[in-house]
């Protein structure tokens, strides 16, 4: 038994934006940006047990081909400027996940003289993942949240009349 040449001709209707967003959200390439212990959990998330790859997210080594930056770990002031530079090198549309307490708000080290209290002071953040460090499940949830956000975006359809200038 084979399905070949047995199905009727089918038409699936959808919005172009939905299809484009579906393709985009299914290949979110993230830049490796491990700064501290959260990086260990990020590696676990990309590893075989949690396997972020099954959602289409694969690690990249360079910002030029990345869609997403996962800032995982304590951000020092020295690193903050470099983070901004790397984020600006990413092509649009780009997204950022702030992973762990340190990247969210400075966490345990927020009173230290060398620490930037939160990556949102330097780059815009789409999803905050709490935890110290967050488990791979939490980061996976963060990626799924980001995928939801990407799916909601409207790039091609005209804005509603009321919102038009």
């Amino acid at each position: 038994m084979s399905l070949i040449n047995t199905l009727p001709e089918t038409v699936v209707t959808s919005k172009v934006d939905d299809v484009l967003n579906w393709t985009r959200k299914s290949s979110v390439w993230y830049m490796l940006f491990g700064l501290a212990c959260c990086a260990i959990e990020m590696m676990q998330t990309g590893g075989p047990r949690s396997d972020l790859d099954r959602f289409g997210a694969v690690p990249r080594a360079t910002p030029r081909v990345s869609d997403l930056i996962i800032v995982s770990g304590t951000l020092t002031l020295k690193m903050a400027l470099r983070t901004k530079l790397l984020y600006e090198q990413m092509p649009d549309p780009k997204y950022a996940i702030s992973m762990g307490s340190c990247a969210n708000c400075g966490g345990l080290f927020q009173l230290a003289y060398s620490v930037c209290d939160g990556v949102d002071k330097v780059i815009p953040v789409d999803v905050y993942v709490p935890g110290c460090p967050p488990r791979p499940e939490a980061l996976t949830e963060g990626l799924l949240k980001l995928q939801d956000k990407i799916q909601q975006e409207r790039w091609l359809v005209r804005a509603p009349e009321s919102a038009a200038v």
């Binding site: 002031l77 903050a80 708000c105 930037c116 939160g118």
Partner: protein, 165 residues
Amino acid sequence: MDAAEIHRRLRDKLGNSVLPEIKENEWPVIGVLPAAIAESCRLLRDDPETAFDCLSNLTAVDRKTDDLIDVYYHLYSYGHRHKVNLKVSCPRLDPALPTVSTIWPIGDWLEREAFDLMGVNFIGHGDLRRLLMPEDWVGHPLRKDFVEPEEYHGISTRRESLLKL
């Protein structure tokens, strides 16, 4: 060789540049005058009886009330398994010491760290740049009178308590 014997040998060679008292400790502390520190280190390393081949740590203490900065050299001998801690006090206003990076290569980074965080100048170091803080940072963060700047390159160093948000 016990610390008292090391102290006696050092005093035989350098006289009053080595302070007479010794503080017995896990790392016995021997006081040395600033001008004699490099010479004492070289003698302790080159003498086969002492053979201190490892500069285990180099750190500084800000004694603001006494207007002094103490610099500590933790020396260890892998061959003889004895250890000693050389202590140098220098004026807080302009702390300057001869470098030991020519005696133990690890002194390079340890001195850069002490310079970065405490502002101790090591004469003859050759590459005395900041190690941990950003290159254009102002001030030395571990000094008691260090005042944290309000912002760094437009990044505010203050954050509202998360409990108030």
